[in-house]
């Protein structure tokens, strides 16, 4: 179980990375390699070039603004878990990071890599959807800012072109009155989530947001919720309406995950 032969390049700048990607359409970006590595070893992915972006200093930077924190794409889950970056969501990011896979994966797996891979069962996708974060993308024509819901088109499908690089994620800050809950249902600790529930209630910002993640495509945002206290009862109907009714088990575990996230937020 060994990868096919590929070339390797290690640009020091975002521009250098984009140039390499432009030149080789089948190049793949290597960050922590925690998703790409297995696919390479299994020969499911057979790129001719890996562009290692972990030596680009800018990509691990943090930019804090009054109403947001922008996290560089190569910041690892472990850096978030350990509190080595500011948490705009007042602990939610840390909570989520702590539950991603295993420590030895979190030390190398990156936020940007997880988002760019767009696996529906990935934690950050659901979490950032609930927080209405914005993806920052650099390409040969400059930078663009894409709301996360538009960024992910479907399972393993994003709006990234082959010569573009996800450079950061901009996450709005929650207010001091915010409360949140996060719950995922997995067959085994650290493995792919079968269902994810996120609940964010921030009276300071006037938002109540519920997300059902690890569906078969994009996370489902449960809209029209005004009070978290009253939310649990209508979840099943909302997820049915969102198209989760095809499989009773799938529906039921997603309802349970969202309800548990709500309960978590209410208990906070």
């Amino acid at each position: 179980m060994k990868a096919v032969a590929f070339d390797y390049a290690r640009p020091r700048t975002v521009g250098g990375a984009i140039r390499l990607l432009s030149e080789k359409p089948d190049a793949k970006i290597l960050a922590g390699g925690q998703t790409l590595g297995p696919m390479l070893n299994l020969r499911l992915a057979q790129p001719s070039l890996l562009v290692d972006i972990t030596r680009i200093a800018e990509l691990a930077e943090v930019e804090e603004a009054p109403d947001s924190v922008t996290l560089g794409a190569t910041i690892t889950h472990a850096a978030v878990e350990d509190g080595r970056v500011p948490d705009p969501a007042r602990g939610l990011l840390q909570l989520v990071a702590n539950g991603i896979a295993y420590r030895a994966v979190r030390t190398r797996g990156t936020i940007g890599g997880s988002l760019a891979h767009a696996d529906p069962s990935a934690d950050w996708l659901s979490c950032f959807t609930a927080l209405e974060a914005t993806v920052v993308i650099a390409g040969p024509f400059g930078r663009r800012y894409v709301p996360i819901m538009e960024f992910m088109r479907g399972a393993l499908d994003t709006g990234l072109e082959h010569d573009e690089l996800l450079v950061a994620i901009k996450v709005p800050k929650l207010s001091t009155r915010a409360r949140y809950g996060y719950h995922k249902i997995c067959r085994k600790t650290g493995e792919f989530a079968e269902a994810i529930g996120v609940a964010v209630d921030d009276p300071g910002l006037g938002i109540v947001r519920l997300v059902a993640g690890s569906t078969q495509g994009r996370p489902i945002v449960v809209d029209g919720i005004e009070r978290l206290e009253a939310a649990a009862d209508c979840i099943e109907a909302k997820l049915l309406a969102a198209g989760l009714g095809d499989d009773a088990y799938e529906l039921s575990i997603h309802v349970a995950a969202v309800k548990r996230a709500i309960a978590g937020a209410l208990a906070a």
Binding site: G15, G142, R144, G190
Partner: protein, 412 residues
């Protein structure tokens, strides 16, 4: 081969490595440090756990070339480490190992846990250790051993592994490297330009078409589903496109024909992509046209040399006249069936993708619509994606179907 320099167990080391050589193979085959074991080579089992710049990592999915400039520590480098010495005693005392294969990775993960945390309960230790599989012990002795050492060390402050403050995967930009792989491209090749200057892609010029998707069924290993959509054109106009194999191929995701079809046969390939996965099924197809019914049957099969996988499929569609917003329109009813075998089929990942079946149909429908309206077809990239997805969707559906299949009981 790429030259790297790194420190392994405190010793400076330089070596030529193939970029595809993962760190574990480099340690085992080139440095003969065979204490690092390979259990799965896809990042699940934890047997290959080593430290890179003080943080634990999977050496099977970390490439040696990416460790240029890093400090790597393997089980052989912990011989005299006081914490590891204590852990070894506890592992023996609590019978925390049997065959010994998972043990080096288990010990390194356990020591890292003790470095980072203290005062944990048994369940918390279990969760922290969940990245390391042991097939022999049932974990009892392992949890006992770690608990025993943790009880002695007490509640610890989290000791940072690295003083550099680097927040990305180790070793980061400050590492001293051989830099053979360094790309010294001129930074001015890239400048921040205002957003939205990229030319609009074809995808964004398409108009959305609603596609209705029926249930998936798997019979005799063939998975089939139905789709239908309505195009706002007269049936004859649509049939001109959909009766022409070259046009159909043009609208089919990732399809490239070698040349014009002859006698109802064509050869070509279908390239499909899913994230980093690319498969190219080369093969041949036949088509059979029934003009009076406005119906066509296309069958094809091919194999992907890269993965050794094979696929065969059948698409049958029929055009029915209907109306849309009071105007004449055409409903395209499609029945698709697939078989996939080989490595690409051999996954039971159930994260697949109800809404995508509709999106695939949408892509095809939009491509046909674009042809009829004289616009560009969809970009190859997006269609590639959707086609592969369809395949994966089929795989998953088969698994789901299997879950439903047993549960039969006879009872008095």
């Amino acid at each position: 081969m790429t030259r790297i320099s790194l420190s392994v167990n405190g010793r400076p080391t330089s070596a030529d490595v193939a970029p595809r050589t993962h760190l574990a193979d480099f340690l085992r085959e080139q440095l003969l440090l065979t204490g690092t074991h390979l259990g799965c080579e896809h990042g699940i089992c934890g047997a290959c756990t080593v430290e890179i710049d003080g943080e634990i990592a999977r050496s099977c999915i970390t490439y040696a070339v990416a460790c240029d400039g890093a400090r790597v520590r393997t089980i052989e480098g912990f011989d005299d480490d006081p914490m590891m010495t204590r852990l070894r005693q506890a592992f023996t005392q609590e019978h925390a190992l049997q065959c010994g294969y998972c043990t080096p990775g288990m010990l390194i993960a356990a020591r890292d846990l003790l470095r980072r945390k203290g005062g944990l309960g048994r369940n918390e230790i279990r969760i922290e250790m969940s990245g390391n599989l042991c097939r022999c012990t049932g974990y009892t002795g392992i949890i006992n051993a770690i608990g025993a050492v943790m009880a002695e060390t007490g509640v610890r402050q989290h000791a940072p592994a690295s003083k550099s403050g680097w927040r990305g995967p180790a070793p980061g930009p400050e590492a001293g490297t051989c830099d053979a792989a360094e790309l010294k491209g001129p930074p001015h090749a890239y400048q921040d330009a205002p957003a939205q200057t990229r030319p609009l892609s074809a995808a964004s010029t398409r108009r959305p078409i609603k596609v209705t998707v029926g249930r998936l069924e798997t019979i005799e290993g063939r998975t089939s589903l139905t789709q239908s959509f309505v195009l706002p054109y007269q049936r004859d106009a649509v049939w001109r496109i959909l009766s022409n194999p070259v046009e159909v191929a043009g609208c089919m995701p990732g399809m490239v024909l070698d040349g014009p079809p002859l006698d109802g046969r064509a050869t070509g390939r279908m390239e499909v992509r899913l994230g980093p996965i690319v498969a190219s099924f080369a093969g041949e197809g036949t088509y059979e046209r029934f003009d009076e019914d406005h119906r066509q049957v296309i069958e094809g099969k091919g194999s992907d040399r890269r993965s050794g996988s094979r696929a065969s499929g059948r698409v049958e569609y029929q055009l029915l006249s209907t109306t849309l917003d009071g105007a004449g329109a055409t409903e395209v009813q499609t029945r698709i069936s697939y078989v996939l075998t080989g490595p690409l089929a051999q996954f039971s990942r159930s994260g697949l993708v109800r809404d995508l079946v509709a999106r695939i149909g949408e892509m095809f429908a939009e491509a046909v619509d674009a042809r009829l309206s004289g616009k560009h077809g969809p970009s190859a990239r997006t269609t590639h994606l959707s086609a592969f997805r369809l395949m994966l969707r089929i795989i998953t559906a088969r698994i789901l179907a299997r879950f439903r299949s047993f549960q039969k009981k006879i009872s008095h």
